[in-house]
Symmetry: C2
Subunit: 165 residues, 2 copies
């Protein structure tokens, strides 16, 4: 039978000897930890940039939208840029930064999973150049597809402190 | 300049004509919507199965752990199975179902993003067979790697209702 969980290796092998104190998944949830934050990011990927449109499309109150957008700006996933419409005063809208853009695989993986396991939707992601469906894949640097049972968790050695003893 | 957001196509092209009412990302967040739920799933992928160990390793109270595990069982990501240690009464532990196992790409993508953008950790995922680092990739069915700017959002046609008019 193929193992269905990660293989823990080296000093991680015995779970009782460690806990995931510096877990990057926990760190991510500290930064983008609410349903509203995920959906505001989704909207930014749809090209939404104006405050009113964010609130209306996510279906949350303007104070909630303002608070979540402020957090996403403070965390560096969105940035505010000035824009001006003819005869109007200058306002600020919201755009994805590189940090925000690189969050896309998380949303794409959630989209696939929700679509398959929770409620099928009519939207899908396609590759512009060839029209084929796009999906998230787990692959190694050698190009092999990997299921979770084929993956192991590895601990890097402690960094050497320069000048340390 | 490469576009940095998804291209919206067909009836999705004009954002003001639609909102994401049946969004699979929102559906996913309804099911696995809390930091604790994400971390309990992480633990299940580490092989944790006993109730006490889940609570201790995630660092949440036993009542919280019980509530979140109950939700994950009710939503079908975990299943309870009986086990018995010598001289003890039968107890139940928790294992990932297929639905839970297929959530792994979401956690892997969060792990990568958190590691790069929030706080570097010493753990990484490797392919058991070849030892190379494993990462999530967005690829189309033709095998092309796709960045978000190369991806478009497509709406499938309304399903035809058999016998409908």
């Amino acid at each position: 039978m193929t193992p269905s969980t990660l293989r823990l290796t080296g000093p991680l092998q015995s779970r009782k000897d460690w806990t995931a104190d510096t877990c990057p998944i926990a760190a991510t949830m500290e930064v983008v930890g609410t349903r509203s934050a995920f959906l505001l990011l989704r909207e930014a990927f749809y090209g939404t940039s104006r405050f009113d449109e964010f609130a209306a499309r996510v279906g949350i109150s303007q104070p909630s939208a303002a608070a979540r957008l402020r957090e996403l700006v403070a965390e560096g996933l969105l940035e505010r840029r000035p824009y001006q419409e003819l005869g109007q005063r200058t306002r600020m809208d919201y755009h994805l930064t590189q940090k925000g853009l690189e969050f896309f695989p998380v949303l794409a993986a959630m989209m696939e999973w929700g679509d398959k396991w929770v409620s099928p939707s009519r939207v899908s992601l396609r590759h512009r150049a060839c029209g084929q469906r796009v999906a998230t894949e787990l692959r190694c640097a050698e190009g092999h597809l990997a299921t979770v049972g084929e993956v192991e968790l590895v601990l890097a050695p402690e960094p050497v402190v320069p000048g340390g003893h």
